[in-house]
């Protein structure tokens, strides 16, 4: 995994290239997504930031705006399924797909080279310039299956 300072430089460069400014708020969102493993709604992120950086504050609109920016730049991925709203995760790590439990909302990540390859082939077949791909398997996780039996 790339180090945080290196990633931050990437982010700064990206901003500079687009005449955008590197602000405390943008760094906060970036950093929080980097430091916290998982998938978060804008609301979640707001809570996390308040909790982990009690001194600093950041408004909900700014979180939305920053996430949109980060998503466009390919730094974060968004994921939407049954539940309301979208969830975001830090995206500059190895590509992976998701198993989503429809009972408890748990997300499990996995990676499968065969599927990755096949996706590329399919995009090529349709003359599609692939920018991203997501595979979500929804179902009931082991824990929730046990609960149902009780």
């Amino acid at each position: 995994m790339i180090t945080y300072p290196a990633l931050l430089e990437t982010f700064k460069t990206l901003l500079k290239e687009n005449s955008l400014k590197f602000t405390r708020q943008r760094e906060l969102v970036f950093k929080t997504l980097y430091e916290n493993e998982g998938h978060f709604t804008p609301e979640d992120l707001s809570g996390l930031i308040k909790q982990q950086h009690p001194g600093l504050k950041i408004s909900i609109p700014t979180i939305y705006r920053t996430l949109a920016l980060l998503e466009e730049s390919g730094i974060v991925n968004s994921l939407s399924f049954g539940a309301k709203g979208k969830k975001y995760e830090f995206g500059l790590k190895e590509h992976h797909d998701h198993l989503i439990c429809i009972e408890c909302g748990k997300l499990i990540e996995f990676h499968d080279d065969m599927i990755e390859k096949r996706q590329e082939e399919i995009a090529k077949k349709f003359n599609f310039k692939m920018t991203d791909h997501t595979m979500n398997i929804t179902g009931i996780c082991e824990a929730c299956q046990k609960k149902q039996k009780e």
Copy 2:
């Protein structure tokens, strides 16, 4: 493909099993999804129904309620991506995945047996009871790539 009357019976049986009633509105949503190839938001469906059945009417809340019911029963699938809201499609046909153009929103369906099989293996590996799986490849379609070059 199964005939419409047969599918309708399936739907009626499902309703009966849950002490739910077969209403004109429920049939309208069901029929409209069956007859129209594609992916629709609740709003889209409302428009389609108005257009294709000018005499009958159905309110937006009822469409939402019916879609939730149909989705739970596995009769329709929902799909959410970048754009706002969810889109629904008739689900009782061969499983397929999607290529989604992020420029124009076009959806292309495809089916790939190798990927299907692999998904089952992965679910099994994680002791996941799979209820559904979706694969979305996002990117830029052939037409939009040409537009960009102009």
